[in-house]
Amino acid sequence: MSGGHAHALHFHGHSPLHRLPAAVKLVGLLAFVLAVVATPARAVWAFSAYALILMVLLVLSEVPARFFLTRLAIDLPFIAFALLLPFVGEGPRFNLGPLTVSAAGLLGAWNLIAKATLSAGASVLLAATTEVPDILAGLSRLRVPPVLVAIASFMIRYLEVVAGEFRRNRIAMAARGYQSRSALDWKPIAVSAGALFIRSFERGERVYQAMLARGYDGRWRMEGQQVIPRTQWLAGLFPGIVAAAIMVASRLW
């Protein structure tokens, strides 16, 4: 069980962003992304301002730019699609160098790339500065139903169980001389997927029994649920509020 509390996107640190309560960051993220998505595509200046806000936050968070950018790569499939838009888009066409592109498609591509990248950047920043248990605690503070939070907690707890069983499965297959010849080698893949599910389930059942033995009673106790001071709310929501003001301005002009 390597990894402990860390997860793929988390970057350990003690910056002001790391210290903000998760509930504040979640609301701030929602406000920022809402503002970005509601901005008309033509307001290029507004998107530059959002990018600037994001950059300031990135510097404040002390998350290395390289770490941030590689995590942002999740955006790439959409950018690939966006780059197709100028060619398949509708409406009047014009020449851009040697290419004939649709004006609406070009605007659509810009719209998608700008909005998806800025929003994903904000999400990556949240994930990079917030531990998983804190995100769950923040969600439960924001009145997300306890059943959902409990399922999410178990899911994250069991992800390592599934991954561990998967590793053991692979080792067992390799020990018996199995070599994957192609991705279409579906029978062993399918059989091991089924076995993986059963084995993970039975191991998960033992984990659950161990939790019961240690006093788990179906309720999830969250630590640090003290009142969040108003200054922290203000500080955390400040980028979102600025973004909202920019969005309103961009819609008016």
């Binding site: 595509a41 699609f81 004939t100 409990a150 399922i151 178990f154 059963i198």
Partner: protein, 323 residues
């Protein structure tokens, strides 16, 4: 399938958010009534499994990435309501902790990937299982059809949202066939995985399958007989063929491929000779409305055909058995 932010406009995303929230609310109410504390860990485990399987992610041309969705598997194992919640949790965690799928688009993603897949999967599974003879093969066939149709339904839901509030500027007649065509193929994979996972659980721990809890399976064959394998393959073929029905109208109209070709030619020719008029200029979208409704209709008929074909074959199989 994870829709990023900015792909669908805010109004549509907000509308989907309201639908998704009320769907989740209804699921919470329904599960709250008969939720044993033992089921929450099982839901968490199923969610973890689906999360792991969803990591097998590959980009698909039509704007989103394709992967297994897992909604029907969750519904069959956990029941529709807890199944919805488990997949919704997967979508939440992906958006908040892995930046996969948008924040404003969360409602859209929960609607498409949790509510639509789990409810369609459950409906198809239950109606097939009730129709078919009580055998483990029948359960697997039902799981397969449920998995396949749930993915296509999810793709249709996306196309509907795109038609209402898409911001891509790609014409609907490109997005529709691409989404439904690709997801018909993904659906086959989803169906096979769902069937095998359900089959594995059925063989070892049938008590865990909520979708069968009220039905009596007389004896569970842990190793499928030869006849049952033949039946399974036959049903698989039928589903695949039916899906071809779904792809066929698209392939014949194929604006995607045609336009792609036109683009390639456009590059070459406009660079060489006539820089002003690439062939794309002729590719105006005359009569969109007709073509749109035409393709949508074709798709809807295709999905219907899949379902009806599945039903017909399974009824025939059943009759032959009882005769």
């Amino acid at each position: 399938m994870h829709i990023p932010d900015g792909f669908i406009n805010v109004a549509t995303a907000a509308g989907a958010g309201v639908v998704a929230a009320s769907g989740l609310g209804a699921s919470l109410r329904r599960t709250g009534r008969d939720l044993s504390e033992r089921q929450i860990p099982f839901a968490g485990l199923t969610a973890a499994f689906i999360f792991a399987v969803q990591m097998l992610n590959f980009p698909v041309g039509a704007g989103t990435s394709g992967h297994l969705l897992g909604g029907s598997l969750a519904a069959i194992l956990l029941g529709p309501w807890l199944g919805v919640l488990a997949v919704a949790v997967v979508v939440f965690v992906q958006a908040l902790m892995f930046a996969d799928g948008g924040i404003v688009a969360l409602g859209l993603n929960v609607l498409n990937m949790a509510l639509v897949t789990a409810l369609v999967g459950w409906g198809v599974f239950r109606s097939l299982v009730k129709l078919l003879p009580r055998r483990s093969t029948a359960v697997m066939i039902a799981s397969m059809v449920a998995g396949a149709l749930s993915v296509v339904a999810s793709a249709l839901a996306f196309v509907l949202q795109y038609a209402i509030g898409g911001e891509g500027a790609a014409p609907l007649q490109t997005v529709f066939p691409a989404m439904v065509g690709v997801h018909s193929l993904i659906g086959i994979g989803e169906g096979v995985i769902t069937a095998l996972a359900v089959g594995a659980v059925l063989a070892v721990r049938p008590d865990l399958i909520k979708g069968l809890s009220d039905l009596k399976l007389p004896r569970l064959a842990t190793t499928p007989s030869r006849r049952s394998i033949v039946a399974f393959v036959a049903a698989g073929l039928v589903v695949a063929l039916a899906l071809v029905f779904l792809v066929a109208p698209i392939a014949s109209g194929d604006p995607d491929g045609l336009e792609r070709v036109a683009i390639d030619n456009g590059f070459i020719e406009s660079a060489k000779e006539h820089p002003l008029e690439g062939p794309l200029a002729d590719y105006g979208v005359s009569g969109i409305e007709n073509e749109e409704t035409g393709t949508v209709l074709a798709g809807a008929i295709g999905v219907g055909a899949t379902f009806v074909a599945g039903l017909i074959v399974t009824t025939i199989l059943r009759r032959r058995r009882s005769a």
